[in-house]
Amino acid sequence: METPESMQQLEKLFHEAAGLGRQERADFMARVRDSNPDLVAELESLIAAHERPDGFIDSPVYETAAESIAKAQPALVAGQVVGHYQIIAPLGKGGMGEVYLASDTKLDRKVALKLLPVEFTNHKDLLRRFIQEAKAASSLNHPNIITIHEIGEIDSVHFIATEFIDGQTLKQRMKRARLKFADVLDVSIQVASTLEAAHAAGLVHRDIKPENIMQRPDGYVKVLDFGLAKLTEKSSQSKALDSEVGTMVRGHTKPGTVLGTVDYMSPEQARGQVLDQRTDVFSLGIVLYEMAAGRMPFAAATSVDALVSILEKEPPPLDEYAPEIPAEFQRIISKALRKDREERYQTIKDLLIDLKTLKEELSFTQKLERSKPPRSSAGLSTRRAATEAPTTIQDRVVAATADPSALKSVRHNRRLVPVAVVGLVLAGLAIAGAVLWQRKGSTPAISTPARTAQRTLSYWITVQKYRDGKPYQDPFRLRDDINFEKDYRIRLHITSAQSGRLYLLNEGPAGPDKTPAFNVLFPSETANNGSALLTENQQIQIPQQSWFQFDEQQGTEKIWLVWAAKDVPEMEAIKGFANSIDRGVVSSPGLRSPVNEFLKAHSTPSVTIERDDEKKDSLVRANGEILVHVIKLEHH
C-alpha cells in the first residue's frame, strides 16, 4: 500500500533516475536496490512507463468531448426562458430529443417544447425535409394529429412547439395495466384512421410506437412526431441528395440509439430499404400485438436480437398471452405483421376496415347479449362480457366465411382500395465477382459485355512490421505475398473512380464451428462518418487514423471489398456494429448468414485485376452494379 511518504520518496528517486543516461542509470538502480529494495521494482516500472512513447494522457481529451458534452443532460430547468417560452417542467426524454412543458409567453398557452438532438439537426437538407413533413402533417388538421405551433431555432438549438396534450402515452398506459380489449380496439381504430388520413396525403410516419401515441383522459388519441423519423432515416430513395444525406446522418448513430428503439421497426426498415406506407402497417401491427398481449411480439434483450426477430422470427401466437382475444383480431395482427410487405395489408385502410368490422361485430353481439334476459340474478359482470363476446364473434366469423354473401360484405371494400404502392426494384446485379490476391504481373483480362458503367477501384496496402511490441523497418507498400505475423499492422488506401458505396469486411480464419466471423472495417463510427458513400475519385485511407493489427490467431485473413452503386442492404444492416462498443464484430448470427450468402453469391471471378508494379497498387475493375473482391493475407 502506498503512502504519501513512500510516494514522495518514489517520486524523488524517479526524477533522479529519469535525468540520467543509460549507464549512469544502471548504476543508480543498483544503488537503489541496496538502499531501498522495496522500491526498486516499482521505480523500474515507472521509468519504463516514462520512456514509453505517447500514451493517451499526453493529449487533452478531444473530439468525443464535444459529443459527450452536447448530449449531456439536462438542457433546461424550470423557469428558464427559451425565446418566448418559459420552461415549466421536463416531460420526458427520448431518442429524438428532450420534451418540456412550457408556457408560450406571447400567446399565454401551454405547449410541449421538444428540443431536437444536435446530431440530427446537423444537416440542413434533412432538417428542411423534416420540417416540411411535420408541417404537412400538422396542416392536415386531423383531430388525431398533434398540432404544431412553431418550428424554430433558438441559441442554435432546434425546437418544435406543439399543442400540449394533458394525457399519457400509450407506453405509460401499458406499463400501468393491461388494456381491456374494447380499449385496444378503440385505440387501434383511432391510430389507424389517423394514419389513413396521413397516407392519403402521401405522408408516412415511419416511427409508430407506443411513445408516439398519446391518449387524453377523455379517450381521444393523438399521434405525435410525424416526419421526425425523416431526420434519422437512411434512405436509398432515388433522389441522390436524399440518400447521401440520410446515410451520413445515420452514420453517427448505432443500432438501438437512432430512434431510441428498434423494437417497432418493419423488416424493410431494419434492412434500410426504401419505405412506403406499409412500414406503418407493420409497426402498428406490433403496437396492436403489444396492447393485446401485454408483451412485445419481438421481445429481445438487445437491439440486435430484436432486429433479428423482426427479420426472421414469427411472434408467439397471441392466444398464448391473451386467450380472450377474438381469433379475428389475431388474424388481423398476423396479416399486419407479415415480413414480406407484399403479403401484408397493402394499405392501412384495409386494416382499418377489418378493425371497424370487428368492432361492429362485437357491439352487435353485445347488444344481442344485452337484449337477452340476464342469466343470473347478479347479471353479467364486465369480465364475463369480455370473455364471452369474443367466442361469439369467432363463431360468427366462421359462419361468415362459410356464407359467401356475408364474406362479400366484409371484404368488398377492400377490393376497391387502390394499391398505391411504389414498387422500387433494385437494379439487378449484373456483374459481380471476386478474385484472389494476384501475383504481380498477372492480368486475367476477362472481357465482360459493356452493358453498364464500368466500376473501377484501385487500392494498395501499407504494411508495418512489428516485433516485441515495437515497429521495425519503415512501413512499405505490399507488393509480394508476405507472411504476416502477430502484431503486424496494415492499412488500406482506396481510390474510387466513380461515386458509390464501399464496404470493407474482415473475415477471419474459419473457427471450429465453420461459421465465418465478420468484422466490419469500413464504414465505421470513426471512418467517413459511418457512411459507405464515397464520391468520385475520393481517396480514402482505412483506417483513417491508425492501423489494423494482426492478433495471434493464424490462418488466412480475408478482406472483402464490396463496391456498389447503391446501398447494399446486407451490408447496411451490419455497418452499425462498427462502433466503439461492438468494435466491428458482427455478433448476431442472424445477420452474419445473409452477409455470407451475399458474398458467396457475388463471388464469381469476373472482375479484372491489374497490378501496377511501379506504383504497387491494384486496379480492380468490373462492369455492373456490384463489385466484390477479396484480398487474402496469409498469417502463419
Partner: protein, 206 residues
C-alpha cells in the same frame, strides 16, 4: 510506430466567429466572489460553466463538416472568452475558471463514458483476428473510466499530482496555465506532471 491520432493543439482551435461574444457579468462576479472565499459562488458557477460548455460543444458539432478536431483546450478557452470575456478579471480568476472548467469537463466526460460502458452488451464475444490498433479514437469510454479511477487512487496519496493531470488532460491547460491555476512554479508543475504521467501510464497498462 503508430501514427498519433491526435491533432496538434494549434490546429484544433475553432473559431466562433459566427457567434456574438457577450461576456456574462454574472460569471465575472461569481469568480471574484469565489476567489474571495465565497464557496456558495461555486455552486452557482458550475451550472453556468456546464451550460456554456454544452452549448459550445453542440454548436461545434453542428459545424463539424471539416476534418477539424475539437480538443478540451479549445472548448475551455472558448467558454472562458464567452463567459468572462476580456473584462477586468485578474489572472488568478482566469486561472480559477480554467480549473473549474477542467473539473466540470471531467465530470461530464467520465459520467458519459460510464453510462456508455454500462450500456455495453454482453453477448457472444467473437474471436477477432484482425483488429484495429486504435480504431475508435482510443476506446474513449474504457480509457476515460480507467483514467478517472486511477486518478482517484493517485489523489489519495498525491492530490496535487492528480489535479495537475485533471487540468492538463480534461482542461487542456498548458504547463504554464496549470502552474498558474495551482500557484506552483513551472518546474514543480512539470515534475508533478512527468511523475503522474509515468505513474498513470503504468497503472493504465496493467
Amino acid at each position: 510506430m503508430v501514427q498519433s491520432v491526435v491533432a496538434l493543439r494549434s490546429c484544433s482551435r475553432f473559431s466562433m466567429n459566427n457567434l456574438v461574444i457577450r461576456p456574462d457579468q454574472r460569471v465575472t462576479e461569481l469568480l471574484l466572489k469565489w476567489g474571495g472565499g465565497d464557496k456558495a459562488a461555486l455552486n452557482e458557477l458550475i451550472p453556468l460553466v456546464y451550460d456554456e460548455l454544452r452549448k459550445l460543444a453542440a454548436s461545434y458539432l453542428r459545424r463539424k463538416a471539416g476534418a477539424q478536431t475539437l480538443q478540451a483546450t479549445a472548448l475551455v478557452h472558448e467558454a472562458y472568452v464567452r463567459l468572462a470575456g476580456q473584462s477586468s478579471i485578474s489572472m488568478e480568476n482566469r486561472a480559477q475558471f480554467f480549473g473549474l472548467a477542467a473539473k466540470v469537463m471531467r465530470d461530464i466526460l467520465v459520467d458519459h463514458a460510464r453510462k456508455r460502458l454500462a450500456a455495453k452488451r454482453g453477448g457472444d464475444q467473437l474471436r477477432l483476428s484482425l483488429t484495429e490498433a486504435e480504431r475508435f479514437g482510443h476506446k474513449p469510454e474504457v480509457e476515460l473510466v480507467a483514467l478517472d479511477d486511477a486518478l482517484k487512487v493517485l489523489a489519495s496519496t498525491n492530490p496535487q499530482h492528480s489535479r495537475v493531470v485533471e487540468l492538463r488532460f480534461f482542461g487542456g491547460l498548458t504547463i504554464e496555465e496549470t502552474a498558474q491555476v495551482m500557484t506552483l512554479s513551472h518546474a514543480t508543475t512539470e515534475r508533478y506532471w512527468s511523475f503522474a504521467r509515468a505513474w498513470l501510464r503504468r497503472e493504465l497498462a496493467a
